[in-house]
């Protein structure tokens, strides 16, 4: 059964990049453009992993992560932050609210694939 990944970003460039990188590994991809949309889709679709942008309109990634961790049905889904904000306080905040890992933009395809596979329990 194909693993399902929810890609959350308000930038079409990033969503397109993630699709190109992850499609090679035969994952089922679903997308969301805001944090609020991400929370709704995650509850409904129960993805195996979430790639979550931080700076987004309506609801940012940190807030979305809090909602996801507070909900019984989405609490245990691994979340990888995808962010341009690589400074230590931002990364620490991400870990504190429940993100499992982070990758920086511009996205390095090898790094992203490797971390996704790691959290999906697949060989890198």
């Amino acid at each position: 059964m194909r693993k399902k990944i929810l890609c959350v970003d308000d930038s079409n460039v990033v969503l397109l990049m993630e699709k190109l990188i992850l499609a090679k590994a035969n994952y089922e991809l679903i997308t969301a453009g805001t944090g609020r949309e991400a929370v709704e889709i995650a509850k409904r679709e129960k993805p195996d992993l979430i790639l979550l942008d931080i700076v987004m309109p309506v609801m940012d990634g940190f807030e979305a992560c809090r909602h996801l961790r507070a909900d019984e049905t989405t609490r245990n889904i691994p979340i990888i932050m995808v962010t341009t904000r690589s400074e230590a306080p931002n990364v620490e905040q991400g870990y504190l609210i429940g993100c499992n890992e982070y990758v920086t933009k511009p996205i390095d395809s090898i790094e992203l694939l490797s971390k996704v596979k790691n959290y999906l329990g697949e060989s890198v």
Binding site: N12, V13, L16, M17, T84
Partner: protein
């Protein structure tokens, strides 16, 4: 009477002699008995010596047998040592061969890993170019094209400190900007300063991060043919991106050619879309 006396004397003499002889015999008998005891003792001693000698002889034979066995075993062992030495030499040779083969396999494996990395980088580079091209040409809305350019600069190049400029007279008007470079951009709008000069040069320039004039890291003219319609100025990069890469250079060349036409088309559509074609007005009315 005389005969009787003589007879008696004779008998007594004979008796004395017999007595003497018996005494002698007894003494001789004693001597012989002592001698017999001595001979018997000697005999016992000799028998013991013979037994001891026989034992020693048995031990000697056993020792000799063991020695012969040991010599045979030694010979066999020496032969085995020779065989093992030959085998070891063969194994050493095999080991050297295997080590050489392993080194070859490791070299090959490293080569394949490097090729894989190269393929992945090329793949990523092509993906970046594809996404950038898609973003530039997927809309005829000027704001969307400008937003697409900004997203390329932020998410593919890795800078949030940039300006997109469009030609206006002899100067460059700021169409979209992020970061704090107000003074630099004012001079660019007048067609002066380093950005004005670079726009006249009309070629992509890349500098060490922030080491170009006015803190520039890259300057990308937007040109249609030889005509410069605008420019992208990139100042600092994101903190985790230390420098621009070869792949960024390819993006810049693509932006230089495609962003200009994309912006031009979007501007034309904005002004004349409805007049050009009935369907065009339905895209971004």
């Amino acid at each position: 009477m005389k005969d009787e006396k003589h007879q008696r004397t004779y008998v007594e003499g004979l008796r004395d002699q017999t007595e003497q002889y018996a005494q002698n015999l007894l003494r001789e008998n004693e001597k012989l008995r002592a001698l017999a005891v001595a001979v018997e003792t000697e005999n016992v001693r000799l028998q013991e010596e013979v037994a001891s000698a026989r034992e020693i002889s048995d031990e000697g034979r056993a020792l000799r047998d063991r020695l012969e066995t040991a010599v045979r075993e030694k010979t066999q062992l020496l032969t085995r040592v020779d065989e093992l030495t030959a085998e070891l030499t063969g194994l050493r040779s095999d080991r050297a061969h295997v080590v050489e083969q392993l080194a070859g396999i490791e070299r090959e494996s490293r080569g394949i890993a490097e090729q894989y990395q190269t393929a992945m980088r090329q793949n990523a580079s092509l993906a970046n170019l594809y996404v950038s091209s898609y973003m530039l040409h997927s809309s005829l809305d000027r704001a969307e094209v400008l937003s697409g350019m900004a997203q390329i600069i932020i998410n593919i190049v890795g800078s949030e400190d940039y300006a997109v400029l469009e030609r206006e007279g002899e100067g460059l008007r700021v169409a979209k900007a992020s970061g704090g470079n107000a003074a630099t951009l004012q001079r660019a709008e007048n067609g002066s300063g380093p950005i004005g000069a670079l726009a006249r040069e009309a070629r992509v320039r890349v500098f060490e991060t922030g080491a170009g004039a006015d803190g520039l890291t890259a300057f990308i003219p937007l040109a249609i043919g030889d005509y410069v319609t605008g420019a992208i100025a990139i100042f600092s990069l994101l903190p985790h991106k230390p420098a621009l890469t070869e792949a960024d250079g390819e993006i810049f060349e693509m932006l230089s050619a495609h962003a200009a036409t994309a912006l031009y088309c979007a501007s034309l559509h904005q002004q004349y879309g409805r007049e050009v074609s009935p369907w065009a007005s339905t895209i971004h009315p």
